[in-house]
């Protein structure tokens, strides 16, 4: 089976969990004997060099960094980049800012291979929707040129591309809901985005949701036929740790960590309020908020206001080794998300032996047993759970061990098997 897949990012250029998820899923699918033609828009100044390297298959290892790439993957994964300004999770405000930042690159940027070939605008678009459309246009050309059995599109930005590809090729379409507009924006949904999401799911032959929570939203709030909506929970890549690196903790206090984008969806303020309550009782704890986002300044102000600044630290955006390092220094990981379609970061914490406290409003809560689950708004319960893990050694110990074992059983291979089964309902082999 050959799948034409539309994504929006791929490691190492990731801004959220989606790039990691696509990568894990793709690798899992390759193991199922599926060939994947992966198409991503690129947003940053280094895309042309990357693209050249990618086209030259002998250089593929550089792109994938530490990942071991088997020859099978080389043979079956075709990676296509399209010059575009699409970014995951981008709201219109963020998008405007991004355009401003990237205007600098405009003169110097070398046009991506495909953009020349397909006469794709190559210039950074006037608005996000135009980029989505341009991406869809290019997608339809790719669909026309390539041979494949099925189209798989990840999240709304790629849905128009998926729909076009379906129309051009006549092949079935699977759309993958990693997040809904309700998760991103609460009740203030962007109507245009909502419409694209709904259109994508209506046109799709199958809809894959990353949790039952998301499945419920898709059915109830988008009116999608439940019969074609399937939940496939995400998984996590096994940890790759180099023997020579050992992280040492430099503070004697216990460390409680929030790691993620500092946005409405992630509920950072609840973490701060919980921290305040714990510090009132026990000053020998340090809290870290790792990440960046539009609520960051507000959060810094709130910490100052509460007078806990000497015990509460901000790191800014972390990636790669720094994330692993942060987990290695943490005693508890907290994910207080208000609405989290899945939430892969607790799994990353658990595989580093870190006990986790997660909100019940997350898809990942559906698959985890060895985690404390609280309502995101229940600051007291959250504080109590954190305190319990810090103060009752046996609890810390059991979470640390059983949590790791649990996560190691959540394999992308298995998730990919479930996705493959969804494919099989559409493609006869």
């Amino acid at each position: 089976m050959r799948v034409l897949m539309f994504g929006w990012e791929f490691p190492p250029h990731i801004t959220g969990g989606l790039g990691t998820a696509c990568f894990g899923l793709t690798k899992g699918l390759l193991k199922q004997g599926t060939e994947v033609l992966f198409v991503v828009p690129k947003a940053y100044g280094d895309e042309s060099q990357e693209a050249v390297r990618l086209i030259n298959a002998s250089d593929i290892e550089v792109f994938f960094g530490e990942e071991h790439i088997t020859s099978e993957i080389r043979e079956n994964l075709t990676y296509v980049e399209v010059g575009s300004n699409l970014v995951p999770y981008a709201s219109f405000e963020e998008y405007e800012r991004l355009i401003e930042e990237q205007r600098v690159y405009e003169e110097t940027s070398v046009r991506p291979v495909y953009s020349r070939k397909y006469d794709f605008s190559g210039k950074y678009g006037l608005n996000l929707m135009e980029e989505v459309s341009n991406y869809a246009l290019v997608a339809s050309r790719i669909a026309d040129m390539e041979q494949f059995d099925l189209v798989h599109a990840h999240d709304w930005l790629t849905y128009p591309a998926g729909i076009w590809a379906k129309h051009v090729s006549g092949k079935p379409l699977v759309v993958h809901m990693h997040a809904t507009e309700f998760d991103r924006s609460g009740e203030n949904v962007n109507q245009v985005v909502y419409d694209i999401e709904r259109k994508g799911m209506e046109e799709a032959d199958r809809v894959i949701t990353v949790s039952n929570l998301t499945r419920k939203i898709v059915i109830e709030r988008y009116g999608i036929d439940p019969a074609k909506v399937f939940t496939v929970h995400n998984a996590v890549e096994p940890v790759i740790r180099r023997e020579d690196i050992q992280y040492r903790k430099h503070v004697k206090e216990k460390v409680v960590t929030f790691l993620g984008r500092i946005t409405f969806q992630k509920g950072p303020e609840y973490f701060i309020e919980a921290a305040y309550r714990i510090l009132e009782k026990d000053p020998h704890v340090r809290f870290v908020m790792a990440g960046s986002g539009d609520l960051m300044n507000k959060m810094v102000r709130r910490v100052a206001q509460l007078g806990i600044g000497t015990r509460f630290h901000f790191t800014g955006f972390l990636k790669g080794d720094d994330v692993d390092k942060m987990f290695a220094l943490s005693d508890v990981y907290v994910m207080p998300s208000i609405s989290e379609p899945f939430g892969i970061s607790p799994l990353e914490a658990m595989r580093s032996n870190v006990p986790v406290v997660i909100s019940k409003q997350s898809g990942v809560a559906e698959v985890l047993k060895h985690a404390v689950k609280v309502d995101f708004w229940d600051i007291e319960a959250m504080a109590d759970a954190i305190y319990g893990i810090l103060h009752y050694p046996v609890l810390y110990d059991i979470f640390s061990r059983k949590g790791k074992a649990e996560v190691e059983n959540l394999k992308w291979e298995n998730a990919a098997k479930n996705v493959f089964q969804v494919y099989q309902t559409l493609v006869k082999q």
Binding site: P238, V239, I240, R241, R242, E243, Q246, R248, K249, K252, E253, K254, V255, R277, I278, E280, K281, A328, L329, S330, D331, S352, N353, V354, K369, H370, V372, K373, E380, A381, A383, D384, A385, Y387, G388, L390, H391, Y392, P393, V394, L395, Y396, D397, I398, F399, S400, R401, K404, A405
Partner: protein, 470 residues
């Protein structure tokens, strides 16, 4: 040999004091631990649906059948306390049953605790306290003992015999019975003076669990059908021990299932056969001769498929909570404070540890049914918060330190094994004990090893009254 069969009915009545949501910021500030509203409403609900109507049915049956219908009860001290406070009608029913002379009231641990597994002195003290309460309420000094959740081992049986009890009830667990039948009288392996009655779990569970299940092949169960099963047993067998959790009558299986009609019809159906009698446990022990000793080197109970104590002591959370609790015993013994003694008793209730069981992750709807917590972790955190506050109070009252606590940090965590190498996961951290030597229970890695922590006490201790208790 004759075809005579004695039916021995025993009903367990117990209600714990459930803990309220007790946050860590309450520690050292608020010493009230209980969810009063929930406890009151549960005892009210269970009394109205089960205790009160069931008592009435049993009383009517005794009136109808006279001396021929005989039953027994084990009611925990905490259940009696709560009934006195919130369900006096239920108490009245039990008192009326007592006055008929057809009802035997058994001794158990006052708090429905695991003390028999962890602290022999505390165990003896609780049994004595409970026996005294039973005598004052029902006018009879208990002669038969039923441990919490039918927990039994050879050593526990020996302690019970040393306290002066003649008979004890336990589970007819397959792993202690082997090829033997529960339908005979047995005796303790260490002290044969103690007669052992074994629950026929097949027939007990037919009434207590399967009765209401329409997908059960034997549904609907009638008194005639049930009596037919008794008749069909090997004629040599002498007794059928039906031990039931009382709320199975009316609460877990509502009146609409016909459970009360079944109960009403049962004695007449059984007694129609003149070879059948109803006997209370101590009457049974006086009437029959034990056929052999029963060996239970490891503790058994009536819980789950395993019929062992892993429902309460099966995981690290439970072992930690129980051992931390019992490490306080020597200090609590020095406290005269009435509220400390009261809380000490209530915190020992086995239910608290049952809520921490991780067994329901795989199976066990029963665990979920009785559990007010969403997860064992929440149960543990809440209990440990309460216990932390209780420890502070005990330490303040005695001026002594109870237990040193080591708190792990990421720095002390073992470095995860490098990729590609197989390294066994870290062993559980050993709890540091600095409790005064003597009766502090040792923490055990496995639930089944708990018997090792039990100290055997000389018989003369049996009469001792607990310190600081009224």
């Amino acid at each position: 040999m004759n075809a005579t069969k004695a039916i021995c009915l025993n009903f367990q009545v117990h209600q714990p004091y459930r803990l309220r949501t007790y946050r860590f910021f309450d520690i050292g500030e608020n010493h009230h631990y209980y969810d009063d509203y929930q406890n009151r409403s549960i005892i009210r609900r269970v009394a109205e649906k089960s205790y009160i109507p069931a008592n009435k049915v049993l009383l009517d049956l005794i009136k109808k059948h006279g001396k021929k219908f005989r039953i027994s009860f084990s009611i925990s001290g905490l259940a009696l306390e709560q009934m006195q406070k919130h369900a006096p009608e239920a108490m009245e029913g039990f008192t009326k049953l007592a006055t008929t002379g057809n009802v035997e009231f058994l001794a158990e641990t006052y708090a429905h605790s695991l003390a028999s597994l962890k602290d022999s002195e505390e165990f003896i003290a609780q049994v004595n306290k409970h026996a005294a309460l039973i005598e004052s309420l029902f006018g009879q000094k208990p002669k038969t003992f039923r441990n919490s959740e039918l927990i039994y081992s050879d050593v526990i049986g020996e302690m019970v015999a040393d306290m002066g009890y003649f008979t004890m009830l336990t589970e007819g667990a397959k792993h202690i019975l082997g090829w033997k039948s529960p339908n005979y009288l047995y005796c303790n392996a260490i002290n044969p003076r103690l007669k052992i009655l074994l629950k026929n779990f097949q027939m007990s569970d037919d009434i207590a669990f399967r009765f209401c299940r329409k997908d059960w092949s034997e549904w609907p169960l009638t008194a005639e059908k049930f009596t037919g099963w008794i008749k069909a047993l090997d004629p040599k067998q002498e007794v059928v021990n039906i031990f039931i959790d009382y709320p199975a009558l009316g609460e877990r299986q509502g009146a609409e299932t016909g459970i009360f009609d079944f109960l009403k019809a049962l004695p007449a159906a059984v007694l129609k056969n003149t070879a059948h009698t109803f006997l209370t446990p101590s009457e049974l022990a006086e009437t029959l001769q034990p056929v052999s000793a029963i060996h239970a080197p490891y503790p058994v109970s009536w819980a789950d498929e395993e019929r062992d104590v892993t429902a309460w002591l099966g995981n690290e959370l439970q072992q930690e909570a129980v051992s931390k609790l019992y490490s306080l015993a020597p200090l609590v013994a020095r406290c005269a404070d009435e509220t400390i003694q009261r809380d000490w008793t209530r915190l020992q209730t086995s239910d608290h540890f049952y809520y921490m069981s991780t067994k329901w992750f795989s199976d066990g709807e029963v665990h979920k049914f009785f559990n007010p917590y969403a997860s064992p972790y929440e149960a543990f955190i809440n209990y440990m918060n309460v216990l932390s506050d209780f420890t502070i109070r005990v330490e303040q009252a005695t001026g002594k330190t109870a237990v040193a606590t080591s708190v792990p940090t990421a720095a002390s965590r073992p470095v995860p094994p490098p990729a590609g190498k197989v390294v066994k996961s870290a062993t559980p951290r050993k709890t540091v004990k600095s409790a005064p030597a003597g009766k502090a229970a040792k923490s055990t890695p496995e639930g089944k090893a708990v018997k090792l922590t039990l100290e055997r006490k000389p018989a003369k201790k049996a009469g001792k009254t607990p310190k600081g208790k009224k």
